[in-house]
């Protein structure tokens, strides 16, 4: 199969799966179709990513669609998270259907929107036109908003309203930014149809109008930053994450935030190569990253709700990725590595938290204490994933955070490094303080043991094992793929990918 066809298939499969799932009578069949659709998409994504990493970017549709190393890397991370969440959703909603808590048409709606959102996110990664990329991001907002209130309750409606309003306004800002960049690109002297093509903007960055690009990037950062949950635009995030059904929270935290951040990544090389703007966007990114880390750290200390705690962890980790991106060089590489680590780990954390919450009927941490006694898979998995999230060595999150710290030291950004360490330190202490009683506390009343299927144990412990392996040893092909993705964000050239690994050991 040629790559031209594969890119189109990547877009068609989710839409087809969504249509099929909506048409089913039975809720379970709809959920299975969603799983199969995501599975096919995962195979396709892996196949095309392999091709992109070995022989360069693939294009389709007269260059309107283009998948390069950066897009392919993000696509694969997304599909892995999506697949894990789909498996989890099958079990999670299966139990709710058995208990009569989920009626068939809500389940169908979930399956349809679930696949639709996958299609929209895929569109973000394969579009070469920055306008179409924006359309994809806005479409994910709209398709995922009803997913928050699969169960219509007051809290879920409130969360959905905040989500759709704040994110829509934020993403509208991003469109304004896109328009401003386009206004600054009028001096490129190319056909107007191609004015928003990322490849053209990169090629002609030196003739862009700096004033417009500058104004545009501020709008873009605020707009996409809102969707990515960067502080101080993060207000919608804890509500949406805590109220959505767990598979949806996992996707929100595990990948939707990264998709928005990916859009910022697309603009960074363009802005950095505009004359007179070298280093300007980096300092903004560093500022926003540090603010996010510190704000999240403060809120993590005072959380009572388990899913809100995890949501604030997302704010922190998005801040870390943004910080790495701003530092450039090794930082860019580490930021991309961190994307994978955070997505895998956060997905598992939500899986376990969601199952415990479903069984106990609450996400209040004081009432979930002693979860290890309830179930070694869910309670133990939750404890492990929180440990990994806060950066315990030798897991992969520790490695990527360490590399970002090293990137800060390389740039002689001592204040940044210190603030980063302070933020991570507060998070470490705060989250550990929550996690200990959660695992070993007194359960209070005797509760039934919580069985877990073998497949469920697999989706909890396999990602954690993968993170352990990645922390200790990085396969050469994976390192190559990461370096290729980081090279797309051009700043990466400064430090060769090999040297820092030897130092980090």
């Amino acid at each position: 199969m040629n790559s031209y066809l594969m890119i189109w298939l990547l877009l068609i499969v989710p839409v087809a799966a969504a249509c099929l799932a909506v048409l089913q009578k039975s809720a379970r069949v709809a959920l299975r179709i969603a799983l199969v659709g995501v599975g096919i998409e995962l195979c396709l994504g892996l196949a095309i990513a392999k091709r992109v990493f070995s022989s360069g970017a693939a294009t389709a549709g007269a260059e309107w669609l283009r998948l390069d190393a950066l897009g392919a890397y993000n696509l694969v991370v997304m599909l892995v998270v999506y697949f894990l969440s789909s498996v989890y959703a099958l079990f999670y909603f299966g139990r709710e259907i058995d208990a009569g808590k989920l009626v068939a048409n809500r389940a169908r709606m979930f399956a349809g929107l679930w696949c639709g959102a996958l299609g929209a996110m895929t569109l973000v990664f394969v579009s070469n036109n920055l306008g179409i990329m924006w359309v994809g991001i806005e479409a994910t907002t709209l398709l995922t908003a009803p997913l928050i209130s699969v169960h219509v309750t007051r809290e879920s409606l409130e969360a959905m309203w905040k989500y759709i309003l704040i994110c829509s306004v934020g993403v509208a800002f991003a469109f304004m930014g896109t328009l401003l960049v386009a206004a600054g690109a009028r001096s490129m002297g190319i056909e107007s149809e191609h004015i928003l093509f990322w490849t053209e903007l990169c090629r002609n960055a030196s003739v862009l109008d700096p004033a417009f690009v500058k104004a545009g990037f501020v709008f873009l950062l605020v707009g996409y930053g809102t969707k990515a949950g960067l502080a101080p635009m993060h207000n919608w995030l804890p509500d949406a994450h805590s109220q959505a059904p767990t598979p949806v929270s996992a996707i929100f935290s595990g990948f939707m935030l990264n998709a928005a951040l990916y859009c910022v990544m697309r603009y960074v090389p363009v802005v950095e190569s505009v004359p007179g703007l070298k280093g300007w966007s980096s300092s903004l990114l560093i500022l926003l990253g540090i603010v996010s880390i510190l704000v999240a750290a403060v809120f993590i200390l005072s959380q009572h709700d388990l899913k809100r705690l995890l949501a604030y962890h997302s704010v922190e980790h998005m801040g870390i990725i943004t910080l790495g991106l701003g530092l450039g060089g090794l930082g860019t590489f580490a930021a991309l590595f961190h994307t994978l680590n955070h997505s895998l780990c956060k997905t598992v954390a939500f899986f376990t938290a969601g199952r415990l919450g479903q069984a106990c009927g609450t996400h209040n941490m004081s009432r979930l204490s002693g979860s290890m006694r309830l179930s070694i898979v869910w309670g133990g998995g939750l404890f492990c994933s929180i440990l990994v999230l806060i950066g315990i060595a030798p897991f992969a999150i520790f490695m990527s955070e360490f590399q970002i710290l090293k990137a800060a030291a390389d740039n002689q950004a001592i204040v940044v490094a210190a603030l980063f360490l302070v933020g991570c330190g507060i998070v470490f202490v705060g989250a550990l303080g929550h996690a200990m009683p959660l695992a070993w506390g007194d359960p209070g009343d005797a509760r039934l043991a919580l069985p877990a299927r073998r497949a469920e144990a697999a989706i909890v412990f396999l990602p954690l094992a993968a993170l352990l392996v990645l922390g200790l040893w990085m396969p050469a092909s994976f390192k190559h793929a990461l370096a290729a993705a980081a090279d797309v964000i051009k700043q990466a050239g400064a430090v060769p990918a090999d040297s820092m690994f030897s130092i980090a050991r």
Binding site: T141, V152, W161, I164, A182
Partner: protein, 242 residues
């Protein structure tokens, strides 16, 4: 966005293909564009001062209709299929579909009047005056394509965006916030139409579709909020915090 004129612009570049170049040629086009933009400013001011939700929805509908005419007015005799598709699409959506949807939500919610907004109507109008002044100042400063011909377009676009944002933060009713979102999108649309001729049709249609779905989903949300809470005042959505 507009069809490109065959002949080159006055200073030899064919990059500035916006209606500023065209409008210098035919005063009738300039007049119709300026008329539309001026009415848009008036609708914004009316939105800031009106308390009845029905009147607000109608005003936003009128604004949508006017904006649909904008590409036709600027295109003049160079009207192409692209411009017509865009104009008709946005007029039908913003002028008829959205108001109907919002009136439906309004009927379900049994409310007609905004209850004591955070900022009163006189105060809102006063702030609107300041925003207009600021927008005009910004329009004069933002030089696009080497000319200041577009300053009025940029000013109206900025004023609409500011009005929309103001409505979102200063009003309590959920429907008012949807209207604010629409006005803000209208402002961005004016900026896109007026200042950047190069946005391809596909992107614009995507934008239009997204706004459509956004208003649709928001309408449904308003309906559900009303059913669950027996009101649609967003300041009372305060269970989730911290």
């Amino acid at each position: 966005m507009f069809s490109r004129p065959e002949q080159k612009g006055e200073n030899g570049t064919n990059e500035r293909l916006d209606f500023a170049v065209l409008s210098r040629r035919t005063s009738r086009e300039t007049m119709s564009v300026e008329l539309i933009l001026t009415v848009v400013v008036l609708t914004n001011l009316r939105l800031l001062g009106a308390s009845r939700l029905g009147a607000c929805i109608r005003t936003v509908g009128l604004q949508g209709l006017l904006l649909g005419l904008l590409p036709l007015a600027t295109g003049g005799r160079l009207t192409t299929l692209h411009v017509v598709v865009l104009a008709v699409g946005s007029m039908v959506l913003k002028g008829f579909v959205f108001p109907r949807l919002l009136f439906w939500a309004l009927r379900e919610a049994h409310v007609t009047r905004e209850v004591e907004p955070f900022i009163g109507y006189t105060g809102s109008l006063l702030i609107g005056g300041f925003m207009l002044g600021g927008a005009v100042w910004l329009g004069d400063r933002l030089v696009i394509g080497g000319t200041t011909d577009l300053s009025w377009v940029v000013a109206v676009a900025m004023f609409s965006i500011l009005t929309g944002l103001f409505l979102i933060v200063a009003r309590k009713r959920a429907i008012h916030q949807v209207l604010g979102f629409l006005v803000m999108e209208n402002g961005i649309y004016i900026f896109g139409i007026g200042a950047i001729p190069g946005i391809p049709l596909l992107v614009e249609l995507g934008l239009l579709l997204d706004i459509f779905v956004a208003v649709f989903v928001m309408g449904i949300a308003v309906y559900h909020i009303n059913r669950e809470f027996d009101h649609m005042e967003t300041d009372k959505l305060d269970v989730l915090r911290g």
